[in-house]
């Protein structure tokens, strides 16, 4: 795995905007950064693919373990929501996608840093923008990327499960979330589904029909929401989720996998896995580790402790009262940048990666997305 400096395409901003990537620059600094790219060998891509499949399998086994042993408290799932979590699992409600964030030095096995199982973003960049970048800069080049195809496949399976129209919702006013949802809706449309978008704030609850509705008074039978379960269960409408009959995507059982409590539990269940770092529910008394709030996002409120001394900490608004602790993985720097592999699993397929890099070891929402290609 190598980082190469490359020349950005002339007018690259307009090119990525044409694909929906309007958030290519944040505070005057490119977020989409094509002044460099990463090259990976076939062996390295195979390693990432193998790790992703193994991690996905371990995650599914973990969900079953949590349900069998009623361990919902570890994930701060409210007791009244346990039943819908179990039901969504037992009835196999459709799941579309997730993103494993991996530390990878190109030599040893990839190591799981976290799993964005419920509301992952960075999707348009990985699926669409970097593919178009590759085809324009190296028409014969290849890339670990069949995300788009797998998304359509996932929606096709969803349609087979239930052909009802699907509503798509995100928080009002957030460009990245909106574009992510619209891209997903795009792929659902291509799978033959009928769709509509609405802001999550616009969802209504009809007390007469006891159903969620959209502003046109249509019942929401299936809802894709880019809005995490730990927030849904705190909102005013939370009690109505249990009775309204809406099918949710991602499904309620993703409330387990999107919580960082999976990190120590995965390690307990699979201590010999080469793809897991040691992790604990209790703070280690010594050593080098990373403290992660179980429901923080985008690298917020992370603390890096090296040899028992806090070395680095990020800001954030998340509750740090419940954290997990993961052994520090010394990321390998490339030209002074620390890359994280975002490995996508769509409809059970390990189907592509997106790479974000930062000058700090903690990847945040301002970390740059850098495209990749295969070197052989």
């Amino acid at each position: 795995m190598h980082r190469m400096a490359v020349t950005p395409r002339p007018d690259w901003q307009r090119k990525v905007e044409a694909l929906g990537l309007h958030f290519h620059t944040l505070d005057g600094v490119p977020y989409w950064d094509e002044s460099a790219c990463y090259t990976l060998s076939r062996y390295e891509v195979d390693s990432i693919e193998r790790a992703t499949y193994a991690l996905w399998e371990m995650c599914l086994e973990l969900v079953q373990h949590v349900i069998d042993n009623r361990m919902f408290g570890l994930f701060l799932i409210p007791p009244e929501f346990e039943e819908i979590v179990v039901r969504s699992w037992d009835e196999d409600w459709p799941s579309i996608y997730g993103r494993f964030d991996l530390a990878f030095d190109g030599v040893g096995p990839p190591k799981l840093l976290e799993f964005n199982a419920d509301t992952p973003t960075g999707l348009v960049e990985a699926s669409v923008a970097q593919w178009h970048w590759l085809k324009e800069t190296d028409d014969r080049g290849d890339q670990f990327n069949s995300i788009h195809d797998r998304l359509i496949e996932a929606w096709t399976a969803t349609k087979a499960f239930d052909p009802a129209p699907i509503h798509f919702a995100a928080i009002e006013g957030n460009v990245e979330d909106y574009i992510t949802v619209e891209y997903l809706r795009d792929t659902a449309i291509q799978a033959g589904l009928q769709t509509a978008y609405l802001d999550i704030e616009a969802i209504g609850y009809d007390t007469a029909r006891k159903r969620f509705t959209d502003p046109q008074n249509r019942v929401i039978t299936t809802l894709f929401k880019l809005y995490p379960w730990e927030w849904l269960t705190k909102d005013t409408f939370a009690p109505n989720i249990l009775t309204a009959g809406t099918k949710w995507i991602e499904p309620p059982w993703k409330a387990i996998l999107s919580c960082k409590s999976i990190l120590p539990l995965l390690y307990q269940l699979n201590p010999d896995s080469p793809f897991l770092l040691p992790a604990w529910f209790e703070q280690p008394g010594f050593g080098s580790y990373v403290r992660k709030p179980i429901h923080a996002r985008e690298g917020a409120n992370i603390q890096v402790v090296r040899n028992g001394v806090a070395e680095e900490e990020t800001d954030g608004s998340y509750d740090t009262s419940v954290c997990v602790y993961q052994q520090l993985s010394d990321l390998k720097a490339h030209d002074g940048m620390y890359p994280i592999i975002g490995s996508w699993v769509v409809h059970g397929w390990a189907c592509g990666i997106g790479i974000r890099e930062d000058s700090r070891m903690i990847t945040q929402n301002t970390s740059r997305f850098v495209p990749h290609k295969m070197s052989d």
């Binding site: 419920d118 509301t119 960075g122 509705t213 502003p215 005013t236």
Partner: protein, 100 residues
């Protein structure tokens, strides 16, 4: 190993309707809907009948799925009298977005 094997198209994001101006203009709805109407008319030969807050939605639906109209959030909502809205989004208001 799975890789992208074919060219692919986008029906919403690639439509050219969802532009950066949407996010920067003070009141984008009118302009976006006008553009959506124009593009729908170009493709179909007659004016689009459905419009929405986000402009591009009805274009797609007009072309591909006329039976299920898009969300017309730029127009007055037509919730039933027994419906109330705004019960989701509160917990996320303190944060920048729901993605991760």
């Amino acid at each position: 190993m799975s890789r992208m094997s074919r060219e692919f198209g986008l029906v919403l994001l690639g439509s050219g309707i969802l532009t950066a101006e949407y996010f920067t203009a003070p009141s984008p709805e009118d302009e976006m809907e006008k553009k959506a109407d124009e593009q729908a008319a170009e493709r179909t030969g007659h004016p689009a009948h459905h419009r929405s807050h986000y402009g591009h939605v009805p274009l797609f639906l007009f072309v591909h799925s006329p039976a299920y109209a898009g969300n017309k959030m730029g127009r007055p909502a037509s919730y039933s009298p027994t419906t109330r809205a705004g019960g989701f989004g509160g917990a996320g208001r303190a944060f920048s977005g729901g993605g991760s």
